[in-house]
């Protein structure tokens, strides 16, 4: 059984279900068993929807028996959802004490689409509170651990979703990425994490952190799997004005067409990132070696490119994201939903609720955001940051005139230890230094396992990031698949979890 669930692609497992060689219940129970066995060590889940998943399994089995869902690539597949995506009747906390009792009366668009395609919501995964963080230590409930080394963080903010896939508690999960929250944990956990073009996937139902940067994307063990779930969740949504009507290709089909003709792409290697001072030499070596093999083994043309404005990316991000967050999080006031800390005075009720229920990192960002939007400071911070984004986009445009995709390390370092950075916000912010530029530019980007580095006898994964042109997920996925073939890391999970 384990062999099937570890080695087969998601669409193949779904195919077995549709052919009735496996029942939906068998699939769901296999993963529920793994969660029961493993999650107490990792704490990836905030809530496991055992009953709901079994009910859904029965419903989907009925549909399959009556011949429905034949075109779905994910029918019968359990999927874990980051707990900042609204799930109808299933508690959605955003990893925050202020929403610890909130049960959404509606489904996010991605959830609706997963359900329509016969996917099964198996649980809600842990995250940094309101997706603010890079280690999942900012969860108001508990930290999640990295399956490769329980002393290390899984990355963040989608640490729960990454850890769950990397430990084979699920084959698919959804995360959200504002400044690297899918790619960095995918890199830290040795799995594939895709952050699609801004607007490729509807945000309706994703609890907003920074609206102009937030994106939903999938985690999986294989590139094929993220391609297939993207196919089901992407596309126009009338409920999201920023989600345009751009046709959704059958990604895995498009990729295999490129594979068949051994399509050559031009790959830019971001010099500024590979050669940056703070990059761990071991990480750099893995990335450079994979890059060179892309040239040698696939005949891709490599070019070192420069992204000069990228040095401003982190400061820009820490103006724009907190500014939007300060406004997005204003609604948590104890009036309508979530938790209220009672008081006789309205203003005191606001203050007590928000003081007691928001964590430090959330408060820090609300303060920063409130400050940069204040009258007299708006032009110097927010407006200037917006202008800088325009320059950054121009830099990318310039590069994409010469190459099809660019690559760089996902993170400058190996997964760090729990507690290592949690007292130093600036250090924590810098762990997203390579993912933030494409976040600001709204470009599609993926992290794919590139290799492992041994530390204290434990293999630790290294992620490689591939960034593509707007809505060109196909090239990004195609190159990711090539990297997957070179590295041989796909489908690897820690030995003790097999």
């Amino acid at each position: 059984m384990l062999e099937i669930f570890l080695k087969k692609r998601v669409y193949e497992i779904s195919h077995l279900v549709k052919k009735k060689e496996l029942s939906v219940k068998e699939v769901v129970e296999f993963f529920l068993d793994r969660i029961k066995k493993i999650d107490s060590k990792l704490n990836a889940f905030l809530y496991v929807c055992e009953k709901e998943a079994i009910l859904q399994a029965e419903e989907i089995q009925k549909k399959i028996n009556s011949g429905e869902l034949q075109n779905s690539k994910i029918a019968g597949i359990p999927i874990a959802i980051k707990d900042n995506i609204a799930t109808y009747k299933i508690r959605t906390t955003c990893g925050s004490k202020i929403l610890e009792n909130w049960i959404p009366p509606y489904d996010a668009t991605v959830i609706k689409r997963i359900k329509e395609a016969g996917g099964i919501i198996i649980g809600k995964t842990n995250l940094d509170e309101f997706a603010m963080g890079s280690s999942t230590e900012n969860s108001a409930f508990f930290p999640t651990k990295n399956p490769w080394d329980l002393d290390r963080v899984p990355g963040g903010s989608s640490g729960g979703s990454a850890s769950a896939v990397a430990s084979l508690m699920v084959r698919l999960s959804l995360g959200s990425d504002t400044g690297g929250s899918i790619r960095q944990p995918a890199g830290f956990c040795g799995i594939v994490g895709l952050c699609p073009t801004y607007g490729r996937v509807s945000r309706f139902g994703l609890v907003a952190f920074a609206s102009s940067l937030d994106r939903i994307g999938p985690f999986a063990l294989y590139v094929d799997d993220v391609a297939d779930i993207l196919y089901h969740i992407a596309g126009y949504d009338e409920l999201d004005s920023t989600c345009p009507d751009v046709p959704v290709p059958d990604y895995s089909k498009e990729i295999s067409v490129l594979e068949e003709k051994n399509h050559k792409v031009k790959v830019g290697v971001i010099k500024d990132f590979v050669e940056a001072e703070g990059v761990d030499k071991r990480v750099k070596d893995v990335i450079v070696s994979v890059a060179n093999r892309l040239g040698r083994e696939f005949g891709f043309e490599l070019e070192y490119v420069s992204l000069p404005t990228s040095k401003y990316a982190v400061p820009i991000y820490y103006i724009i994201a907190p500014a939007e967050a300060s406004s997005n999080l204003a609604r948590y006031d104890g009036v309508k939903y979530g938790v209220r800390e009672d008081s006789q005075e309205l203003s005191e009720m606001y203050v007590r609720t928000r003081t007691n229920r928001f964590g430090d990192e959330v408060k820090r960002r609300i303060f920063i955001g409130t400050f940069v939007l204040s009258s007299g400071y708006y032009d110097a911070y927010y407006l200037k940051a917006q202008k800088a984004i325009t320059l950054l986009r121009r830099d990318f445009d310039e590069i994409f005139r010469k190459v099809d995709v660019v690559i760089c390390p996902t993170s400058p370092e190996l997964p760090f230890k729990l507690g290592e950075k949690s007292q130093d916000p600036l250090k924590m912010y810098l762990s997203d230094v390579f993912t933030i530029p494409s976040s600001l530019a709204g470009l599609p980007a993926i992290s794919v396992p590139a290799g492992f580095v041994e530390e204290n006898g434990k293999p630790l994964p290294v992620g490689l990031q591939i960034i593509g042109k707007q809505f060109d997920e196909v090239s990004v996925l195609y190159v990711a698949k090539c990297v997957e073939k070179i590295s041989g890391c796909a489908g690897k999970i820690p030995q003790d979890l097999i």
Partner: protein, 482 residues
């Protein structure tokens, strides 16, 4: 006013007044979600995850609200920005579910317009923008409740320049603004429901002084009449303070219509920092030709033009024209018929007397298009019958009322009252009159034609004046020539 320096008159001061008006747009649904706009009824019965700002929801602009806002801008002769955008206005209040209001700030939908009042004076308009309404607070003895049914209802905010220099001008401006917005379907304009709300900025200064006085804002006044009174009072209050050597405090005041006085609501206006920034969940507002065309479609001939046309083209009285042009559906109802009848005056009085009565009694609803077509046909028939003289004014009314209230065909109703149906009676009366007055008949036949009047009178007496004189006359002439 009491006290004051000797010799200084109230008339030595002048009023400087500007208005901020919120108008609810007449859309089917709210500004950013698909809840019905009409927010009456049980509190919180008309809400959805979007208009209460639940975590994760997003706004999507109601295009029809944009069309109506553009129409309002056109009606106010404004420059429309081809591209503008929404911003978030951040402040905490329990009736504001997201604790920010989606509004416009740096670039409004339209700017620089005017509305001309009766005197010919143009009140200039600074800006017009689109925004969402908030919910309503209900304060009870020891708790406050929030009703979010109104949350997300589409509004335009219109800001005038301080061009208003008398309470009467403010009243006139608002009345006219209200009328044209309702006329062109921009707003339902229901004042009780708060479809048009107005804040007033009032200051006074010595006549011809170039420096403006300190302004006071009067909020939450819910009728145009009260606004006029509030400005009147406030003007006198401020002049009184200045004459007494005092200073006007910048503050927000309310108006008590019973005491006919403004009163202090809050002083030292807390300097709000709304931290406006562009709304990232919405695309820029682009006013393209398609939107402009849709907006123009609703711009009808305005009430004053209509009235003028009625007087000139149909020669009806100013009074009738005034009433008939008070509402667009009524004016159009009249005009559509006036082109078909010979006597528009007869039509005007029939509409004002009988049709409106039936409408007000609820027997018919001319605003409803189905009723309207039927009623138009009925009115046309009775007017024609009256013009032909086959029916009297009174029986025309009776026939109309009978046809609509008892669902009888109008032709039948008219038929019953036609002089024709009493033809026998008339013929009999004529024959009687001829028989009873042989001498007069003789004289008539010899050429004394003026005796016709005498015969008509005699016949009318016999039929209790229930016939149309014209018909009686025709029939008499015919008989007398036999």
């Amino acid at each position: 006013m009491t006290g004051g320096s000797v010799g200084v008159q109230d008339s030595d001061y002048e009023l400087v007044c500007g208005l901020e008006i919120h108008i609810q747009l007449k859309t089917k649904t709210k500004l950013f979600c698909s809840c019905p706009r009409d927010s009456g009824g049980i509190p919180n019965s008309n809400i959805c995850p979007i208009c209460v700002g639940l975590p994760g929801v997003l706004p999507v602009l109601n295009k029809n609200a944009l069309v109506l806002a553009v129409r309002a801008s056109l009606l106010l002769n404004m420059q429309i920005n081809k591209k503008s955008y929404f911003e978030r206005k951040n402040y905490f209040y329990p009736d504001l579910p997201k604790n920010y209001q989606i509004s416009q700030y740096r670039i409004p939908l339209a700017q620089n317009g005017y509305l001309e009042i009766n005197s010919g004076k143009k009140i200039r308009i600074q800006r017009l923008h689109i925004e969402e309404d908030a919910g309503k607070m209900i304060h009870l003895e020891n708790m406050s409740l929030v009703d979010f049914s109104r949350s997300g209802v589409p509004l335009v905010e219109i800001v005038t320049y301080p061009d208003i220099s008398s309470p009467e001008e403010a009243y006139e401006f608002l009345t006219k603004l209200h009328k044209i917005m309702v006329w062109c379907d921009v707003s339902e304009g229901n004042m009780e429901e708060g479809h048009l709300r107005c804040d007033v900025n009032v200051s006074v200064k010595p006549k011809n002084s170039p420096t403006l006085g300190t302004k006071v804002e009067i909020k939450n006044v819910n009728s145009f009449r009260f606004i006029r009174e509030a400005i009147e009072y406030e003007m006198k209050r401020q002049i009184g303070i200045i004459k007494d050597g005092g200073k006007i405090v910048q503050e927000t005041r309310g108006y008590d219509p019973i005491a006919k006085k403004t009163f202090q609501m809050r002083t030292k206006e807390y300097a709000h920092d709304y931290r406006y920034f562009p709304e990232p969940d919405l695309l820029p507002i682009v006013v393209d030709d398609e939107i402009i065309e849709a907006a123009r479609k609703g711009i009808y001939e305005l009430p004053e033009e209509k009235k003028k046309k009625m007087i000139e083209k149909y020669k009806i009285s100013e009074y009738s024209a005034d009433v008939l042009s008070s509402e667009r559906w009524l004016a159009e109802f009249f005009e559509e018929l006036a082109d078909k009848v010979e006597n528009p005056n007869l039509l005007a009085s029939f509409i004002l007397e009988e049709v409106m009565r039936c409408h007000n009694e609820g027997l018919i609803n001319i605003k409803n298009s189905e009723d309207r077509e039927k009623v138009k046909k009925y009115v046309y028939e009775v007017i024609k019958a009256q013009e032909k003289g086959v029916i009297t004014r009174n029986s025309a009314k009776e026939a109309f009322r009978e046809a609509i209230s008892q669902n009888i065909d109008i032709a039948e109703s008219i038929g019953k009252r036609k002089v024709e149906s009493e033809e026998d009676k008339i013929i009999k009366a004529i024959e009687d009159v001829i028989r009873e007055n042989p001498k007069e008949v003789e004289r008539f036949k010899k050429g004394e034609k003026k005796l016709l009047g005498f015969f008509i009178g005699e016949v009318m007496k016999k039929i209790d004046k229930k016939g149309a004189p014209k018909v009686v006359k025709e029939m008499l002439e015919k008989k007398l020539q036999e």
